[in-house]
Symmetry: C2
Subunit: 345 residues, 2 copies
């Protein structure tokens, strides 16, 4: 018992963590704004909670992960995009209720902390935070030996935004006869990756480096396409929403995430209202057709798992549709009717 | 290519997730209060952001995990305490800045979703949320095949609280000659578990079921002792803090988390102020002495890794010390002086 055991012997390096935190601090500080009242390194991040221009401020919060899309980062060695996937996913999840992002925190967990990998992940988060006008207010970097295989990590994000109560978007005004618009996605966004990986790598026998003509790129690059934030398109309309004099108010927004078309659109529909989607009214990205063919996947399963090329659904009145199409890059993909659920015709 | 592949074939069951979410919804709803404006299942959780009684509300946010303490849950099959560890850890992390919790969100990731395990974890979180007057506003439950070994999961939490700016506790008023008080912990709280597990299970050869006289319990139970919230003790003092007429204001609070005594106390000290801790002034829980002996661990390493029986440090003026000791269950463990860092004498 003469040999002395240290925390580092147990696989945890506080020094390594401190080195990673120094880089995180630099990236995070670049996202700070006049509402940020703290430094990374405090126990909690501090942010002004005064909303002087609002009648009744509502905080909107959401938590999310990147799922097995992370495996693509491990396999390609590209670590500076998954953070942006996560931030943009979270931004979209609160945007659907009419909220603009205030701040974001992350949880990064790995078996053995590699400061360069951590820094790349955080760089992606910080970049996306900045693009969305969101502060990277803090986070947790956890080194957990024997918990993650070498070179792997998990990543979760938490966002808080704000919306003035009269401008909340909640789908309550949706009625049969409204128009369903779809904003294009540029890939799988952040869901369906377990199935996608099975189809490409197990069934298809491809690797991340396989170049496919149908995709015009490698499988790895196509699958790593960054989940886009729809705030730049929807944001300019938010401040006008809830104002009765506005010509084209948004009645409902659905982010097409886990559960695909079939599970996400019903989340915003009032009882007794259904959505009929007309396939062929938008460009289904080639990657979806390719996956469907590879695994002989049913249409039902495709629409329940993937976004099929539509990243966000906007519902508005028929009278507003043309104005909306002029303001937002979207397709007219269907309409609301009486009934339950979502049908694809 | 006649066999059709589904998302479930890729290891992801949306039905299983929906069953888990139904239980989560039930536990979460029990934590809702009049400020909660939403249902679990919306894309984002909604919470009133109006703070009418405050001059200048500051939101304080923190993210954290449970670290390898989770391995104890896996090994013992006790899953309904790690959620409370996480919530209480987060509550303490914002309490040190003077904030009371508003709402909490979690991230739960596993390889194969077992609805009963997920429910037990969430039950622990919801119970602790309720005890802390905090709403479980939402979260993400991720099924990630091949990401976690069978029976394992990771868990992260995110908390937002609020403090009125004049009542922020930031350590800035700490001067040499102040008193350092320590509130007892009931175990390792939520850090140092990689080292603790190495010492007990590898070096000592014990199992979670080994009963040790020194501990008066099994190793598993001792290591799973729930991280306590210090809000019940500190909370009643918060509303008075910042009021110049109060006899015993808190100058600084440090939560003894990852980095132990040596890394956490300096986070709240102004430049040029150091802390001298007098060992022997409080009861070091037997588990710490046992671990130190098992691994011949240096004092320095013990104090840099573990809380050594002090869960939270309170710094106040000498003139306030007796009043504080009458209000909070704590020991007088040292004083501030001129210099840098923390010394244990």
């Amino acid at each position: 018992m003469s040999q002395s055991i240290s925390y580092a012997d147990a696989g945890v390096s506080i020094d390594n963590a401190n080195r990673a935190v120094a880089k995180i601090r630099e990236y995070a500080r670049a996202t700070f704004n006049e509402r940020t009242l703290t430094e990374i390194g405090s126990f909690g991040g501090m942010f002004s909670g005064a909303f002087p221009g609002m009648d009744d401020p509502i905080l909107v919060a959401s938590a999310d992960g990147v799922g097995t899309k992370l495996k693509l980062a491990f396999e390609t060695g590209i670590h500076n995009t998954v953070g942006a996937d996560l931030v943009n996913h979270c931004v979209n999840d609160i945007l659907v209720q009419g909220a603009r992002p205030l701040f974001f925190l992350d949880y990064f967990a790995t078996g053995k902390l590699e400061p360069d990998v951590t820094a790349a992940v955080v760089e992606g988060m910080a970049r996306a935070c900045k693009e969305n006008g969101c502060v990277l207010l803090g986070g947790e970097t956890a080194e957990m030996p024997d918990f993650y295989p070498p070179g792997e990590y998990d990543l979760a994000g938490f966002i808080v935004g704000v919306v003035d109560k009269p401008k909340v978007i909640d789908g309550k005004s949706i009625v049969p006869g409204d128009v369903v618009l779809g904003i294009p996605s540029n890939g799988l966004q952040t869901n369906g990756y377990s199935l996608a990986r099975k189809l490409f790598f197990e069934v298809g026998g491809y690797t991340v480096d396989s170049y496919l003509d149908e995709l015009g790129t490698t499988v790895g690059e196509a699958l790593l396409a960054t989940h886009q934030s729809f705030l730049p398109q929807i944001g300019p309309l938010l401040s006008k929403n809830g104002d009765k004099s506005v010509a084209a108010p948004i009645k409902g927004l659905a982010h097409i995430t886990g559960g695909g078309f079939l599970e996400n659109i019903p989340r915003i529909l009032p009882d007794g209202v259904t959505v009929e989607i007309n396939r062929g009214t938008w460009t289904e990205l080639p990657i979806f057709g390719l996956m469907q063919k590879l695994g002989n996947v049913s249409d039902q399963e495709m629409f329940r798992t993937f976004n099929m090329g539509i990243g966000m659904v906007v519902i508005c009145a028929e009278a507003s549709a043309e104005t909306m199409i002029g303001q937002v890059n979207c397709f007219r993909i269907g309409r609301t009717t009486t009934g339950k659920g979502v049908s694809i015709v």
